[in-house]
């Protein structure tokens, strides 16, 4: 027993720096949420770089995958040429598609959710069109639309429209199911219009917000598909073009750029909707 005591003290001394490092890391990265989020990105790119350097090959193969470092090179090259025209054309396509999709999706969704007859008239063919992937629309988009530009906007519209529509319909149905809130309006003498605008519409907002956030992401999701149609410009076009010419780093750069712009616009949509719903207080586990 006597001999174990000094030994364990030595052991404790050896552990101390590790524990200290861990404490420092905790303070650095977990003390506030933005640091935690930075850490998550650092880990993501770090692991990716390591997989590329070691040439990881076990079922999935990283030997030919451009490393983050190569992607940085491609990105620098992209931004030193003329990036504005590509980014501008992509952003405007996505935003236009999303804008049309959200206006149409929310209005149609409210009508379908509220009126039985409109649901019966619209839903059969909407449900028929819903599962069709954006890429399958390319030939028809070329045939139907006067310009490639409008065709591309239509493809991003298709991506955003259905999530917005379905979320809005479900949100209205959910609030109609909450019979107490509807009855509150009725026994205060409210007519149908008042119940719709003061009870159903605000009650459906959280659901609509969800649909808009998903719709925003989906519009970006469809960008590469849309820009297969394109002539010369667009981030999706670069991605597709680089694939055709087997130039891999720009592909990954295009993917990440789409990811980044998609994440930022979804975040903006989420923030905007949150501002419309000041009554919602969300407290997560461990927050």
């Amino acid at each position: 027993m006597a001999s174990t005591l000094p030994q364990s003290r030595v052991h404790a001394d050896a552990v101390a720096p590790v524990a200290k490092l861990w404490r420092t890391l905790q303070i650095l990265f977990f003390a506030n949420r933005s640091a935690t989020r930075c850490l998550s990105l650092i880990l993501f790119f770090g692991i990716w770089q390591v997989l590329c350097i070691t040439g990881f090959k076990f079922f999935i193969n990283f030997q030919l995958v451009p490393s983050p470092w190569e992607v940085v090179g491609a990105t620098v090259e992209f931004f030193t040429s003329d990036p504005g025209v590509h980014i501008r054309s992509s952003v405007s396509r996505v935003l236009l598609g999303f804008a049309v999709a959200s206006v149409l999706g929310v209005i149609l969704g409210l009508f379908i959710g509220w009126f039985q007859i409109i649901e019966d008239l619209m839903m059969p063919w909407l449900e028929l069109l819903r599962p069709i992937p954006a890429v399958a629309w390319i030939p028809l988009a070329i045939l139907i639309f006067p310009t490639a530009e409008t065709g591309m906007i239509y493809i991003t519209f298709i991506g955003a429209f259905f999530p917005v529509l379905i979320s809005t319909i479900r949100a209205v149905e959910n609030i109609l199911h909450d019979i107490v809130l509807i009855r509150v309006g009725q026994c205060l003498g409210a007519n149908k219009w008042f119940i719709f605008k003061d009870i159903v519409l605000p009650g459906a907002l959280p659901g609509i917000a969800g649909g808009l956030t998903i719709g925003m992401g989906n519009a970006w999701f469809c960008l590469v598909t849309a820009e297969i149609l394109a002539g010369r410009y667009g981030v999706g076009y670069i991605t597709w073009e680089s694939y055709v010419t087997s130039n891999y780093p720009p592909i990954v750069m295009g993917m990440l750029l789409i990811g980044l712009m998609g994440a930022m616009s979804s975040w903006a949509v989420g923030r905007g909707m949150q501002a419309l719903m000041p009554w919602r207080v969300i407290k997560k586990q461990g927050a």
Binding site: Q186, C187, G189, A190, L205, P278, W279
Partner: protein
């Protein structure tokens, strides 16, 4: 909690003396009997109410008391016009009830404030629907908020209010409309015992001030005896009025009246009436 008659000056009253006669005539309710329901209930019908008759006088506070499953909430929903009886009818101030309306205020058991409106906006709803100008709405709602001690919370959202505050707001939301009759469906059942007692006292205070006819549904014997002028004890299977008794306790009533021998004796009497029905409803 400030509760006082003097705070309420501009609220329309007096007319309540002639308003709020409720006449329930031969009301029966069978669930699963309408064509749409027959499908869902697979032909099984369930008689919830069997020819219920009673009259409530203007300005009276009547309690419908019964064990769960006696159809007391269904009866209240019928008076409110939320559901139509299978047979029989309800008249409020000689007008047959066919649909919900502003003349019958309703306080729900669940918290029913609109989560996206502040206390003030929730309470003002009825006046907004009536089309009252904003300044007038401000005045009236302000007085009612004072009446139940919610003035400080006028701009709080329901999620920031306690259960008791939410129900106080629900009560005045129904009352700002000056309804002929206030229908209350176990409004205090979800509250803790202390808050419940405070709310009962507060309700009596409000009622003393406004003299609105109240139909109060509860399964709590003490609550019915403390609040009611008359208690309609309901029986189960099918739901019906089993007995009707007047509560001779003097008004105004205080919470410590619950400790008097008179109170205990009446409660005991009601308890004996209801015990058999409770056992019956427990067997099912």
């Amino acid at each position: 909690m400030r509760v006082g008659r003097e705070t309420l000056t501009r609220v329309p009253k007096i007319e309540s003396a002639v308003k709020g006669a409720v006449n329930v005539e031969g009301v029966s309710m069978i669930f699963g009997d309408s064509p749409q329901e027959r499908l869902r209930h697979r032909g099984k019908t369930n008689q919830v109410l069997d020819s219920v008759n009673f009259q409530i006088k203007p300005g009276e506070l009547a309690c419908l008391l019964g064990p769960s499953g006696c159809g007391k909430s269904t009866l209240l929903n019928i008076i409110a016009g939320f559901v139509q009886p299978t047979s029989g009818y309800v008249m409020v101030d000689q007008q047959p009830v066919t649909k919900p309306g502003a003349d019958r205020g309703f306080v729900f058991q669940q918290y029913s404030l609109l989560p996206w409106k502040t206390t003030f906006q929730n309470v003002e709803l009825g006046l907004k629907i009536k089309g009252l100008p904003k300044a007038e709405r401000q005045d009236i709602v302000g007085e009612y908020l004072n009446l139940v001690g919610l003035a400080k919370y006028r701009d709080a959202y329901p999620s920031e209010l306690s259960g008791g505050m939410k129900q106080r707001a629900s009560i005045i939301r129904a009352l700002v409309n000056s309804p002929s009759v206030l229908l209350m469906d176990e409004p205090f059942a979800a509250l803790d015992a202390q808050t419940r007692h405070m709310m009962q006292a507060l309700l009596l205070n409000v009622w003393d001030t406004l003299k609105t006819t109240i139909v109060f549904v509860t399964h709590d014997i003490e609550e019915a005896v403390f609040l009611g002028d008359r208690i309609f004890v309901m029986g189960v299977q099918p739901g019906r009025i089993k007995a009707e008794l007047s509560v001779p306790l003097p008004r105004p009533r205080q919470l410590d009246d619950m400790l008097t021998p008179d109170f205990t004796q009446i409660s005991r009497q009601v308890f004996d009436l209801i015990r058999e029905e409770t056992l019956k409803s427990m067997e099912n």
